[in-house]
């Protein structure tokens, strides 16, 4: 214990050295901006800074990357709340509640709560990372594809609770997304599925193109076509679009959501292959399940926003656990960080704590500091992005589409991706008009391929014995929770109807 505290004190001193501190600030700024811009992901920006880390030591390199990671997972919530355009898939649940709060005139609180929830989630997860990483990693090491599959199913099952109007509609959207995820070259046999001779479909449909199209372009078309009278609540006026940090009393009232988001984020973040996106959807679904008023979710509920935003940043600490203690990257971002370790001749894993304790604890303290500094950086960033709301609607709408073009094109320098984005934009408009929920489709296209990969690998490993999912305790427990998620709304509807009937009869 004392030894750990000693390392932490040394880590604090090292983190405050000018170069290291500058890397934290730079990383946060890059991460927030990259996370906020649709089409430019936090992962892209971590990859882009990798060549620059050749010039630095391992500590500033990792501080830069972890700060981009921390800023990046938060950044997408700003544009989600302000413009209904989540910067990354992980910010989608935050957008559902945040944009509605914006339309209700509570944009300052929504932004402030997103910043505080992110900072708290990130800070506490970094603390957990510091003190509990070795034992936690030992448990995760026992997980196989069977458990990973169960966790992905839990994420998919959350669609039932996030389907706001019709469960059948939500399921249609989810399965359509999962089907789109099967398009392209299949990993096990190497054959191309459902490309129908269209060359660019051989490599599959990039979910980012679908995401940009459905959310950003669909929203622009919807706003364009709606007459002013019928458009409903307008987003906040520029003068009110600043973040207002919540009071301690408001935070205390949301302690349950914060703790659930923290727990979900850390646990799911630590399971390799899942990460912030799954964490945000699962925590949002969980929050809706435990809520006394689940029907209000999707209309601007702080609990939903707080839980998902806490879990997204909590997953950053969680994802670092298997990387640092086992040498297993838990997400794309940590995979690039592993590359940075190896570039500097350092092998992440159990020996890292014995061989390079000073470096490891400097990274831990750097993460703690980055999450605290993010409160200030988040306030500044929210204010800068809010200035965009002063831009007249015609200019904003035209440039959003231009940025969507550039974001889609930048993925592979291929016009086909732009076509996919634009076509999904048109589809997004019709889905909005016909009340087909968009988020389940996004969830399906992201998690569907993961579910397939884990399911088929489990089947190969266990001789096509499907009972393996129920005989392994962790998998069985997670699948049982998923079944509960699926059955609970139906039971509640049934009992609700009976109660209403009895009240009417009485």
């Amino acid at each position: 214990m004392w030894e750990t505290l000693g390392y932490l004190a040394a880590g604090l001193a090292a983190s405050l050295q000018p170069l290291n501190f500058l890397m934290i600030l730079t990383g946060l700024a890059i991460g927030i901006v990259a996370g906020a811009l649709p089409g430019i992901t936090m992962l892209n920006s971590i990859v882009l800074v990798l060549p620059f880390t050749y010039l630095m030591g391992i500590v500033p390199s990792l501080l830069l990357m972890t700060s981009i990671y921390i800023g990046g997972v938060f950044g997408g919530s700003i544009t989600g709340i302000l413009f209904n355009i989540p910067g990354d898939p992980m910010n989608v649940p935050t957008t559902w509640e945040g944009y509605q709060l914006n339309k209700k005139g509570q944009v300052r609180l929504a932004l402030g709560m997103a910043i505080m929830a992110s900072a708290i989630g990130g800070f506490l997860s970094a603390l957990i990372l510091t003190f509990a990483s070795p034992p936690f990693a030992r448990v995760a090491l026992t997980f196989s594809t069977v458990e990973y599959f169960a966790v992905v199913v839990l994420g998919l099952a959350s669609v039932v609770v996030i389907g706001q109007v019709s469960i059948a509609g939500a399921l249609m959207s989810l399965f359509a997304g999962m089907f789109l995820g099967t398009v392209g070259t299949e990993a096990q046999y190497g054959i191309t599925r459902f490309a129908f001779g269209i060359k660019f479909l051989d490599t599959g449909i990039d979910f980012v193109t679908v995401l940009i199209g459905l959310f950003a372009i669909g929203e622009v078309l919807d706003q364009l076509s709606a007459s002013k009278d019928a458009a409903g609540g307008d987003p906040a006026t520029p003068s009110t679009a600043r973040a207002q940090l919540p009071s301690p009393r408001q935070l205390w009232a949301l302690r349950g959501s914060i703790l659930r988001g923290l727990g979900t984020g850390v646990v799911i973040g630590a399971i390799p292959g899942t990460g912030a996106t799954v964490a945000s959807f699962v925590s949002y679904g969980l929050e809706k399940q435990v809520s006394k008023h689940p029907e209000r979710f999707g209309t601007g509920v702080l609990e939903g926003l707080t839980a998902s935003e806490t879990s997204v940043n909590a997953s950053t600490g969680g994802a670092m656990i298997p990387l640092l203690t086992l040498g297993i990257p838990g997400s794309g971002a940590t995979a690039v960080m592993m590359g940075a370790f190896l570039l500097h001749g350092v092998q992440p894993g159990p020996l890292l704590f014995a061989k390079n304790p000073h470096e490891v604890y400097t990274i831990f303290v750097g993460m703690l500091l980055a999450n605290l500094i993010m409160i200030v950086m988040g306030l500044i960033a929210a204010r800068c992005f809010a200035q965009l709301m002063k831009v007249p609607e015609p200019i904003l709408a035209a440039f959003i589409i231009a940025f969507c073009f550039l974001g889609a094109y930048a993925l592979r320098n291929d016009m086909s991706d732009v076509w996919v984005t634009m076509l999904f934009g048109v589809l997004g408009f019709f889905m909005r008009r016909y009340n087909l929920p968009i988020p389940p489709l996004i969830l399906g296209i992201i998690l569907g391929p993961l579910a397939e990969q884990y399911f088929l690998t489990s089947m190969v490993s266990h001789g096509n014995d499907v009972t393996v999912f129920l005989t392994r305790p962790v998998s069985a427990a997670v699948l049982l929770t998923s079944a509960g998620l699926l059955v609970w709304p139906a039971l509640r509807w049934r009992f609700g109807r009976r109660r209403a009937y009895e009240v009417k009869k009485a």
């Binding site: 399965f175 046999y189 089947m459």
Partner: protein, 167 residues
């Protein structure tokens, strides 16, 4: 009548799902004994999709009155919608022919005009300066090889890049 109209969408998706289910069975693969084929997962997903469509049709048929999701959609300005969709789809269609700079300039002008920007000078200036700014950021700084156009338009784009000192 309304229920029948609202069932058309799910019914069409159901039919498409059935067609794709059949197509999945025709994937050119030699199955490995004891291993699930590449058609297994898509078929499982398509069964889910078709079941969801049936549930949706039943939900629509059972709903008395307009139903919870039949809240009257906001009125649509058809000319604006059709114009917006046409512009959005013509953007990627024209970019490889005219090149990104010219296509983007015309797109910005047309879209801003469609949304409601009337005054010609701000319209032209925003289109022009916006395009130049995007070119500087994405071509000069980020090195994104944006479409230059075909034939003479490619020469024009390169001339423009040289004029702006991007190349």
């Amino acid at each position: 009548m309304r229920a029948a109209r609202r069932s058309i969408g799910p019914a069409l998706i159901l039919l498409a799902g059935a067609g794709l289910f059949v197509a999945a069975g025709r994937l050119p693969v030699v199955p490995v004994p004891g291993q699930l084929g590449p058609d297994f997962w898509p078929r499982l997903v398509l069964v889910g999709l078709m079941t969801a469509c049936v549930l949706k049709i039943l939900e629509v048929a059972r709903a008395k009155g307009p139903g919870p999701e039949a809240t009257a959609p906001a009125p649509v300005s058809r000319p604006k919608l059709v114009g917006g969709m046409a512009l959005v789809l013509s953007y990627p269609a024209l970019a490889p022919l005219l090149g990104f700079p010219l296509t983007n300039f015309f797109f910005l002008l047309a879209f801003m005009r469609l949304v409601g920007m009337r005054r010609p000078l701000p319209l032209l200036l925003t289109g022009l300066l916006g395009t130049v700014a995007l070119l500087y950021v994405f071509v000069k700084v980020v090195y994104l090889p944006l479409p230059k156009g075909a034939g003479v338009m490619e020469d024009f784009t390169i001339f423009l890049y040289r004029l702006l000192r991007i190349f």
